[in-house]
């Protein structure tokens, strides 16, 4: 009997996972179908770029600066052991542009903008605003979700670029202004060692993918949230957890793919 129970549970869990995957896929397909209408009314997207992007700037700039400081210190500690302290600019830039910029920005985005999106959509659902839209023959996926989705995808690479730029400046403050590395070598090594397509391009591709993943998770969780205070709270938590795991997993997959093409 125990074996039978085990098999039954296994089957039930497998079915649940399959059903969830199918639901996500259907939702994603419907969102994709709604994109042209969002692009036609681009002013709605612009409003979301402002709401998602502008309000995330403070946390992105502050975190970018802090990460730049730490990279400057840790990088100098490691490089000076090998007499290569003047390569600090290159190390800071490559670390930020290829890896830390997109990943940390995405994690911060999930915590700042993702939760806000989930809570907003979830509360709209709880307040029957989405149902009211439906009854007005206005598709909430087209009117509410699609502009936020496009806005999120556009915003993420911009925020990552901002993060990296501020981080490099933080590295410069620590390396050049505080430690005393030669400013010319700091910048020239960076200029010679950072490649636009291989390094910056990879970072942009990662940011784009993270933008799609994080915004989709946030919107899906909000739209499918139970229309109660507890339901919205749980959905918000799920957004952070799922987005963070997705970012780290996708980062590994993308990095592996990018390395294989080297």
């Amino acid at each position: 009997m125990r074996l039978l129970d085990f098999v039954q549970r296994l089957g039930s869990i497998s079915l649940q996972i399959l059903r969830a995957l199918g639901h996500h896929a259907t939702f994603f397909a419907e969102l994709m179908k709604s994109l042209p209408s969002a692009l036609r009314r681009f002013f709605l997207v612009v409003a979301q770029i402002h709401a998602i992007g502008n309000y995330s700037l403070v946390i992105i700039v502050a975190s970018g600066m802090a990460v730049g400081f730490v990279l400057g210190l840790q990088g100098y500690y490691t490089l000076s052991r090998y007499g290569a302290a003047e390569s600090l600019g290159l190390l800071v830039a490559l670390s930020l542009v290829r890896e830390l910029g997109p990943v940390v920005t995405a994690l911060l985005y999930a915590g700042r903008a993702g939760t806000s999106l989930t809570a907003e959509i979830g509360l709209m659902k709880a307040g029957e605003q989405l149902a009211a839209m439906e009854m007005m023959a206005v598709d909430p996926k087209q009117r509410v979700l699609a502009p936020r989705f496009v806005g999120g995808i556009i915003v993420m690479p911009l925020l990552a670029a901002m993060f990296s730029a501020v981080g490099i400046f933080g590295g410069y403050i620590v390396g050049v202004l505080l430690i005393g590395i030669d400013a010319g070598q700091f910048w020239s090594q960076m200029q010679n060692g950072v490649h636009v397509f291989d390094d910056v391009g990879n970072g942009i591709v990662k940011s784009f993918v993270f933008g799609v993943a994080c915004t989709f998770v946030a919107l899906y969780q909000g739209y499918e949230a139970q229309a109660t205070p507890e339901g919205v709270a749980q959905a918000t938590t799920r957004t952070v957890v799922i987005s963070s795991l997705a970012i780290l997993l996708l980062d590994f997959v993308l990095t592996a793919l990018m390395f294989s093409s080297l």
Partner: protein, 267 residues
């Protein structure tokens, strides 16, 4: 079917899994009339509105609006029909990030290509009709519940729908707001020639303004008629509901074993 019947619910059955919510109900709504659907909480009134709006699909039976079937599986046709329907939600469901003006303008902006000046005029006209022209620039969180419902009503009638559905329009309103809301429903119906459908358990207010009423209990239509006919009814269930008696055909106690058994004392 007579052409005077604008909305026809024909032998509709609906439920979730094993739980039957509406069982073989038939209701007809005369064009241009105000009809009330009354019944206790959880009797299936709001489900009826969801069925008419095409949010859910009946398991059996059919619903037609002006002769056209409401089919949730045919999205384009459904959205076409929904443009002829306005629905006032119980708590207004105003968009909290928009001003009252923008809320009323929302359906106009979504469904028409009217110039901004004309949209402004229509919105001001609708807000004036519900007495809130002066509050146009306020946000929903700056007004009372009764005012929110009036703004929602202005938004509902923005596109001059042919069918207006009201979900519990009197719930939670103070006496003044309640009288205002009831008066507005009747006046708007008469002025626009729309067909109105009120879902409520407020017998007094409904009977004041409706032309016809259905009483639903346990997912079935137990009585229907004009307010006077229902008031004079000898049906125990109708009398209990209209007089607000705690016990009767609709039991006060939820089904339970004998109370002596629960307390462990001999019967």
């Amino acid at each position: 079917m007579s052409s005077d019947i604008f909305l026809d619910i024909d032998r509709v059955t609906f439920g979730y899994d094993e739980r039957v919510i509406l069982s073989d109900v038939s209701l007809q709504f005369q064009r241009g009339s105000v009809t009330a659907i009354m019944g206790g909480s959880g009797c299936g009134k709001t489900t009826l509105l969801r069925l008419i709006g095409g949010t859910v699909k009946p398991q059996h039976g059919r619903i037609t609006l002006d002769g056209q079937p409401i089919d949730p599986d045919n999205r384009d046709a459904l959205y076409g029909l929904r443009r002829r329907i306005g629905m006032l939600f119980q708590f207004g469901a105003l968009f909290t990030d928009l001003t009252l003006f923008e809320n009323v303008a929302f359906p106009l902006r979504e469904h028409t290509k009217l110039p901004e000046a004309m949209i402004r005029d229509i919105v001001v006209m609708k807000l004036h009709a519900v007495g809130l022209r002066g509050a146009a620039e306020l946000k929903p969180n700056e007004i009372s519940g009764g005012m929110a419902r009036r703004v929602a009503l202005a938004r509902t009638i923005a596109l001059d729908p042919e069918l207006i559905m009201y979900d519990e329009p009197f719930a939670g309103l103070d006496p003044i707001s309640l009288g205002v809301a009831a008066n507005l429903i009747r006046r708007l119906n008469d002025a626009t020639g729309a067909t109105s459908l009120i879902v409520s358990h407020d017998v007094h207010e409904c009977f004041l303004i409706c032309d016809y009423a259905y009483l639903i209990s346990s997912g079935r239509v137990v009585a229907h008629g004009t307010p006077d006919q229902l008031r004079d009814s000898n049906e125990p269930e109708v009398r209990q509901f209209i007089r607000g008696e705690a016990d009767g055909p609709v039991r006060f106690h939820y089904p339970a074993p004998p109370v002596e058994q629960d307390f462990g004392v001999p019967a």
